[in-house]
Symmetry: C2
Subunit: 370 residues, 2 copies
């Protein structure tokens, strides 16, 4: 049952079984014994959801009706992401932890039972399929009151190793086509648990935005022979005025055609397809730039910014040479009391209207005194 | 200057000039004299915004930096969409009105000056263009406290005639490719003025969702010879269980692959490309179904639902036989105290996760006692 694995940078992973059969993975900088048992009674796992094809726009929509009743912003003393101390048995049986990843209790996507495949032909009469995939929760720290930006560089390194490890393992599953680790922060983006954590969605289909990126990169490669993302990055470096910070291995910038009041892309200077492709040197240089970017974001207005931070990776099986790893952070906060909403133009038409020039938000981010 | 036009159903349009050169159009059931002058001092028009190409996903993003400072939820006595009565000079010089449409004072898109064209070739080095297009505001009633659902059927008929008229006129502009009339309702979707009104966005490019619908419809037509939307509608009629209401000319249903807790599509049974193609009988049958749908939506929880209601039309110059007119209403309200948020999966990946089965929300909508 127990599965121990030595990763990079002296980080060790220990897998343990939860009482309902889910797996929890402890990522530690020292070889901790992680043997605390999950003492909770066994609960039935929720059923797998539906996958429906929206023929109007050629997209899959996942339906997870069992998620309606999930827990919403519990008080700190009932937080299911804190370590287990005293009476409350949380998702993490240990009394302390560094980084843990466990299977989501109310997953939108679940591993399929038996043979599973998306239909080859899809159209207005496509029958519903099962919402295959996998959803995991990643806790950044045992400390309930912290944020990503408060983590130590060492902890961010462990976190990165956990993201890498999950990408590598999930890539081996035959039903998984794309892996997206992301963090939602703030009630403004619907966060239901305030403990610092992220999620990992592993899709059995290409998410619509990935399909678009893939199509754009393919067309560009065919007509120019070049990689689209590399050329976009080259322009950002040439334009210079939207760069926030760079080091020897990473660069952070506000993209030329941002969609949000604050949007930051963080990319490795040596292009790779996914997290698993990062070199040891890339990984060691990530914590500094990641923490600087997040501290600058909170520094702009001196408040905790709501954000969505997502790793964009190449899909597992296609476009490995076309898409590039980058970390996208978007915030809907345009001023202390004001949010950007996605209304008619953005939501119904997909046509984004920005109220701010990207050069302005890049300057604001650079001017923050850290 | 004054331009009077007789439309269908005895409705008359009168155009007037506002003090800063913008046009206001009065739509009335009787031939009113609409001669009240705009007594406000002339104000400079905001500059035209930028259009930037996001090469990563092949989409245009409009930038309208001048919109940051626009008015936000003023008290009723300062509402710029009420008729002018007494001291406050509003956007509407008359002391009363039925339906008016005027050029937006802080438009995201503006008519270009001189020759204008989108570049033929686009890529990561595309320079910024001007955000050509047109943004208009449409007021549904002079009564500040009302909603769309409180309008009389006659008033909805005038409103429909105004939407038709604007679609016809805007279609004549050489720089306009797509026209989307929509209504945002509720602070939850960022509404900045609570007076019942909608907007009309006329784009100089195909909005991303329209491009996707067009690509899907084209592929389907090529492989089957059939119209995709007609087949989608045929499935909805066959499945039956998601239909909310229908009459001789229109049908309202929750689509098979809905993305929102409440999503309703209202389509004419005789397919047409756009509002201008509706017959007199179609138009006369619309108010009843439109009002029923909106009253059912507010009836589900007995509260005013936040929603975005958008007319999807075929583009002005392409895909006229491929895309069909339909009215899409989406609400992020999933329970009285709960909203659906677009977080990591939806926002960053474009992959929607629904917490509710469309059949369930269709049943809830049908069960509302009117």
């Amino acid at each position: 049952m127990a599965q121990s694995k030595r990763l990079s940078a002296g980080i060790v992973r220990n897998n343990r079984q939860m009482s309902d059969g889910r797996t929890i993975r402890y990522y530690d900088t020292t070889n901790q014994s992680r043997n605390a048992p999950d003492l909770r009674p066994v609960e039935a796992q929720p059923p797998i959801g539906e996958l429906r094809f929206d023929a109007l726009v050629n997209e899959w929509v996942a339906m997870a009706a069992h998620r309606q009743g999930r827990i919403f912003l519990p008080p700190k003393e009932l937080c299911p992401l804190c370590p287990t101390n005293g009476e409350l048995l949380t998702e993490i049986p240990e009394a302390d932890f560094e980084v843990v990843v466990f299977d989501n209790r109310s997953p939108s996507l679940r591993p399929p039972v038996g043979d599973w495949a998306l239909p080859d032909e899809v159209g207005p009469d496509t029958d519903l399929g099962t919402a295959a995939g996998k959803c995991e929760v990643i806790c950044f720290t045992a400390n309930h009151g912290k944020s990503f930006k408060d983590l130590t560089p060492d902890r961010v390194r462990v976190l990165l190793e956990a993201w890498k490890d999950r990408t590598e393992e999930l890539s081996l599953e035959p039903f998984i086509e794309h892996i997206a680790p992301f963090e939602n922060r703030g009630e403004e983006v619907g966060v239901t648990l305030s403990h610092p954590h992220g999620q990992i969605y592993a899709y059995s289909y290409l998410p619509p935005r990935v399909e678009k990126m893939l199509a754009a990169a393919k067309t560009y490669k065919q007509s120019t022979g070049k990689n689209l993302f590399d050329e976009i990055l080259a322009r950002e470096i040439r334009d210079h005025e939207r760069i926030i910070v760079r080091n020897d291995h990473w660069i952070a910038y506000v993209p030329y055609a941002s969609r949000y009041p604050f949007e930051i892309h963080v990319a490795p200077l040596n292009p790779v397809a996914d997290l698993a492709g990062l070199t040891e040197a890339d990984c060691d240089a990530f914590p500094a730039i990641a923490l600087e970017v997040m501290n600058r974001l909170d520094g702009v207005f001196g408040i905790e910014m709501a954000y969505i931070a997502t790793w964009h990776q190449a899909p597992v099986r296609v476009g490995r040479d076309l898409l590039r790893l980058h970390w996208q952070i978007t915030s809907v906060r345009r001023a202390p009391g004001k949010l950007k909403y996605l209304a008619g133009s953005e939501s119904a038409m997909g046509a984004f209207i920005m109220d701010m020039r990207p050069e302005q938000s890049a300057a604001q981010l650079r001017e923050v005194k850290l």
